[in-house]
């Protein structure tokens, strides 16, 4: 009874941390979230994505070909809560909550010797870990993928240890579904499938019929992805394997050029250094993820104090608990680092959620070992409370205060604010030029633009949906022209120019007689979204004095004045 109360309390705490200040934390959503929300909106409206493709296997989005499951599950929430941060993120919140519950149940199945307390500690560590809170608060397919993966493990182990044939079958089917949730599970699910019989051969042979049937369904569920295996859409993520190419080696090989088998040594060094970067205590207990949109400022994936229990847990596994289940989890955790390590991105922890989950389990083990040394229950409770207060205070400072004010620029908050402004001035025309590509996705989201109109304007060849089609360089959405600013033309028309400090530098604005109308910025003022009004008349007067001999300029001014 007490265990049920405790897990409910943990789930309540987790829910509060994942939903507090939910819709107002950042003004708007990130680019990927905007694209998913718009696709969900379009699918809910007409059964087709924003490009007119009916229920695609991968969602084209910005030619990144996202796994579709998150968007499909968001169709109803987007209809209920509108195209809004709540509408698109609620699936992630629910997935995060259920993952915490599942980890508690999973640990109870695989480690019955520890009783329920280990499961409770795992759930608590996950509930308060910065990485899990952050990823549950944002619309991230990886978080959904993690939930489905943990569900599959729970079902599989239920089947393995309790000889439950239905559970084994369901576990394999669920494992196959992870492939449709997030791309890195295309690798991890296969490795899990291969390693399960290796680690638990004896147990699986007693349910082998159910295992074989489940395996068949696993393959069937993979068929849609296999049918487009040889397309750009399927292979897009593999294009990130740039450092294995000859071209990359020629540009970055350095001293390896002079060595025999230099390219292979270069690749080996790159791979091993990246793997150890993920495994480094610095990366998971101190540094923020370099991907600023997926991190909390000055707070790592775990709190610094957790390192003590992390090493305690590892030591406990080496000394006492080197059983198959722990070894299996450690193996899966280590293996899940590989898809992330073979890309050119430095430290992108979102791609290694299985690894972070395993680290959480090890921390919980270390914590349990530490608590076992304390005799008095009151002292145990006191220790946990102190750690909880320190952690939540730390999280509050770094997330709800520092990140909230200083990460607005990275969370596309500035784009959202700018587009909200342009939307509220529908009678004016805006030329939008943000240097970050694909901000048109945020415009579609903010405007809730008619998907039928958008589809017509893009006019994508649906036969080649998963192929390599060059993206248009300009888009028109309502009163917006999203393209590069033509300084020789745009400043001679009555309109507004929207951009950032790169596309609308101050000196150019001054030279072209632009008037600053709005400036959206972060608290430390290091990023801006700017809206300028053109002043063609003033500019022409200035130009006529300075550049009488430049016919083109005079022509544009003449055109403007004629219009007036």
């Amino acid at each position: 009874m007490i265990n049920k109360i405790l897990i409910i309390l943990i789930l309540i705490l987790a829910l509060i941390l994942r939903t507090i200040d939910f819709s107002s934390f950042s003004p708007g959503v990130y680019l990927d979230e905007a694209s998913m929300a718009y696709d969900a909106y379009s699918l809910g409206m007409r059964g087709e994505d924003q490009y007119g493709k009916s229920w695609p296997i991968y969602l084209r989005s910005f030619a990144m070909y996202q796994a579709p499951l998150y968007t499909y599950l968001s169709i109803l929430p987007v209809q209920w809560f509108d195209v809004s941060p709540v509408g698109i993120r609620i699936v992630s919140v629910i997935a995060g909550e259920l993952t915490i519950l599942l980890i508690y149940l999973l640990m109870s199945v695989v480690f019955p010797v520890f009783g329920k307390k280990f499961g409770l500690l795992c759930a608590l560590v996950l509930a308060i870990s910065p990485w899990h809170i952050l990823f549950s608060r944002n619309a991230l397919e990886a978080n959904l993928g993690l939930f489905i993966f943990v569900l599959s493990l729970y079902l599989l182990f239920l089947g393995i240890f309790k000889k439950n044939k239905l559970a084994i079958f369901s576990g394999l089917v669920t494992l196959a579904i992870t492939n449709h949730a997030y791309h890195s599970y295309r690798f991890t699910s296969i490795i899990t499938l291969i390693s399960l019989p290796i680690f638990f051969w004896q147990q699986i042979t007693s349910v082998k019929k159910a295992y074989v049937i489940g395996l068949t369904f696993f393959c069937l569920i993979m068929i849609p992805q296999l049918s487009i295996l040889n397309t750009t859409g399927s292979l897009r993520r593999l294009e990130l394997l740039d450092y294995t190419s000859e071209k990359y080696f020629q540009q970055n090989g350095g001293p390896f050029h002079d060595l025999p088998l230099g390219r292979y040594m270069f690749i080996a060094r790159a791979l091993s250094s990246k793997v150890f970067d993920y495994l480094s205590p610095r990366s998971i207990f101190f540094d923020s993820d370099p991907a600023v949109t997926k991190s909390i400022q000055e707070l790592s994936s775990f709190y610094s104090w957790m390192i003590i229990f992390y090493f305690w847990g590892i030591f406990a596994i080496i000394k006492k608990y080197h059983n198959r289940v722990f070894l299996f989890f450690v193996f899966i955790g280590l293996v899940s680092v590989i898809p992330a390590a073979i890309t050119t991105d430095n430290l992108y922890l979102l791609r290694t959620l299985n690894y972070l989950l395993v680290v959480s389990i090890i921390i919980a083990l270390g914590l349990m070992e530490a608590l076992n040394l304390i005799k008095h229950r009151i002292l145990k409770v006191l220790l946990l409370l102190v750690l909880l207060v320190v952690s939540l205070t730390n999280f509050n400072i770094n997330y709800f205060h520092i990140s909230k004010h200083e990460s607005k620029g990275y969370y596309s908050g500035l784009f959202n604010e700018a587009y909200e402004y342009t939307k509220s001035h529908k009678n004016d025309h805006f030329v939008v030029d943000f240097r970050l590509p694909h901000t048109f996705g945020v415009a579609l989201y903010v405007y809730k633009y008619d998907p039928n109109k958008w589809e017509k304007s893009i006019n994508l060849d649906l036969e080649n949906y998963y192929g390599d089609i060059p993206e248009p360089k300009s888009f028109v959405i309502d009163n917006l022209s999203i393209r590069e600013i033509e300084w020789s033309n745009d400043v001679y028309k009555d309109q507004y120019l929207v951009g950032d400090e790169e596309s609308l530098p101050e000196n150019k604005a001054l030279d072209n007689e632009l008037t600053l109308i709005q400036k959206f910025t972060t608290d430390l003022d290091f990023r801006q979204a700017l809206i300028y009004k053109t002043n063609p008349e003033q500019l022409c007067r200035k130009m006529s004095d300075e550049y009488k001999h430049v016919d083109n300029l005079n022509f544009l001014c003449k055109q403007y004045l004629d219009k007036k």
Binding site: K274, F276, S280, P281, D287, I318, K319, N346, L347, H401
Partner: protein
């Protein structure tokens, strides 16, 4: 050490040669003979501790460690963590404004900045990439990064850590924790950053190499 020599003189010799040709010890010899000698003495003490236990040995090791640490501090104690730059002051003031009146001072003050700087030095010292890959792929701007050990020694480091932690857990955790905490007072950009770890890591590598070679020899027989 005598036990190590007894196992196989060639094995022991090859290990010594290997470590002496390690980039770090060569770099250290160039910069400070005293620190090189102290670090090698401490290394030998740690390797002996792995095989023997005696109060005298522990005391000697502790004293050598103390002298080594003090010498490193004299050369490169990080005073900057106790003073604030203009940028840090600006940041503190800005961040205090994120809270209701007066509350911001509790969380953003000189102590919090000092603690963060200290933490940074501690955790940078715990990064294996610093030692084996010159901090690649996330090289540290302004830091004196060079490859301290050859990457192929990394598996032997892991073996050595496991062996030492299993055999002498109290000594292992004591020395790792104390070294980490002391390393926090040395700036992560300094030439002597993480030098306190050199005897420790080298000892683990030697133990790892020795364990691996013994294992292979045992199974070949």
């Amino acid at each position: 050490m005598i036990d190590l020599i007894k196992i196989n003189k060639m094995v022991f010799l090859s290990i010594v040669i290997l470590l002496l040709s390690t980039p770090w010890i060569l770099e250290l010899l160039k910069r400070s003979l005293l620190l090189s000698i102290l670090s090698l003495v401490l290394l030998i003490c740690l390797v002996i501790i792995f095989n023997k236990s005696s109060a005298k040995l522990y005391l000697t090791t502790g004293l050598v460690f103390l002298v080594f640490t003090i010498t490193v501090f004299v050369v490169s104690f990080d005073k900057t963590i106790f003073s604030l730059t203009d940028l840090q002051l600006m940041e503190i003031n800005a961040r205090r404004s994120y809270y209701p009146q007066g509350v911001g001072r509790i969380f953003h003050n000189k102590i919090s900045v000092i603690f963060y700087g200290y933490e940074k030095n501690v955790f940078f010292g715990l990064d294996p990439n610093l030692y084996f890959f010159a901090s690649h792929p996330r090289e540290r701007a302004g830091a004196d990064d060079f490859q301290r050990y050859y990457p192929w020694l990394l598996p032997f480091l892991v073996v050595g850590i496991f062996e030492f932690a299993k055999k002498k857990p109290t000594v292992f955790f004591s020395i790792v924790i104390v070294t980490s905490l002391m390393n926090g007072f040395i700036n992560y950009k300094s030439t002597f950053n993480s030098l306190l770890f050199f005897p420790l890591i080298s000892a683990f590598i030697i133990i790892g190499l020795n364990t691996s070679i013994s294992y292979v020899r045992k199974h070949l027989k």
